[in-house]
Amino acid sequence: MKPRILQVRTQILKKNDELARAMREAFVAAGVYVVNLVSSPGTGKTRLLQTTLRRLRSRGYDVAAIVGDLETDNDARRLAESGAPVRQIQTHGCCHLEADMVRDHLAGWDWEALDFLFVENIGNLVCPASWDLGESLRIALLSVTEGEDKPLKYPGLFNTADAAILTKLDLAEPCEFDRVAARANIDSVRPGMPVLETSAKTGEGVEEWIEFLCGRRDQFVRSLKKSAPSC
């Protein structure tokens, strides 16, 4: 018998994408600005997020975080020191977060009261790129210890980001890190993307990052015509 051909033409990650879209609509309706942080392991996502949660809280924002790891709840415990509500996703071997994993950790939070939700993805510069988590902003982090050419080695991930952060600036000099080259490499794979520079250890650049976040959230809120605490 001659085989029959079915034209299907469907996104392979359709279920994830549909769920992420529904989650984004729910976040937008509640006025929650969701930020997905992606980077290699050891770039300093947790350290920067600790500072970020603390500073945003001191500005009067209600913030929360969901953090993904293969094993342990170490990062959730570190982040909870900021006083913000934090939940840990343990993926037990899965190298990225998917929308349903985030959804399963959302119950019980007062969405109407929340201004920011941060999702700290699994440390991985390849796999998280394909998975929409319903975020409004995706940030790719690159530490100065990783080398300037990381964006050229992992263009797929940097290309899906809305902004990049160079982290651990305090180590730039001993690592002979070339900021100009790093920025040029980021711009080569994602022309026009904003690039920030921070050291969560010394505090350098952190206020600029907070301003950037608040500015993006203000734009988001204006688009919703909803009142919000000002920066």
């Binding site: 051909i5 033409r9 990650l13 263009p155 797929g156 794979v189």
Partner: protein, 139 residues
């Protein structure tokens, strides 16, 4: 190794489509994978063979159409193929551009199946980011 998750999603939607069409068995699965989709071909093929075991897709051939990246250049008002995914520049004038028109695809395109009625078909889903007919690539 997110290819395992991708293969699982693929088997799920392909099985649904095959069942809806009344198929008894799937003999070929055709997918389209963009250069920017972060999918490693061999890893996906390896995972596909594992996750299809015991499903309608067991033993099916996986054919992968690789889609190169194409970007739109506002200066030239045309779409061109990217020479390198490390360099998002118009192939014609060299201007930087982040306006990607193709290359992010991760789609189940078609299935070859045994069984079911000839008249039974599957309605293609609308693909939001699927480009409409593109101008010819610049030389």
């Amino acid at each position: 190794m997110h290819e395992l998750s991708i293969a699982q999603h693929l088997v799920e939607i392909a099985t649904e489509a095959a069942r809806d069409a009344g198929a008894r068995r799937v003999t070929r699965v055709g997918i389209r994978v963009g250069e920017l989709s972060c999918v490693h071909r061999e890893a996906l093929e390896f995972c596909f063979d594992i996750v299809t075991k015991g499903t309608l897709l067991e033993g099916a051939e996986l054919t992968i159409e690789e889609i190169p990246v194409e970007v739109y250049c506002p200066s030239c008002d045309r779409v061109s193929r990217l020479e390198s995914i490390q360099r998002f520049r118009c192939a014609r004038c060299g201007q930087a551009t982040a306006d990607i028109r193709r290359g992010r695809e991760l789609e189940l395109d078609s299935l070859e199946v045994d069984g079911g009625e000839e008249s039974v078909g599957v309605t293609p889903d609308s693909l939001d980011d699927r480009p409409v007919q593109l101008p010819a690539e610049s030389s």
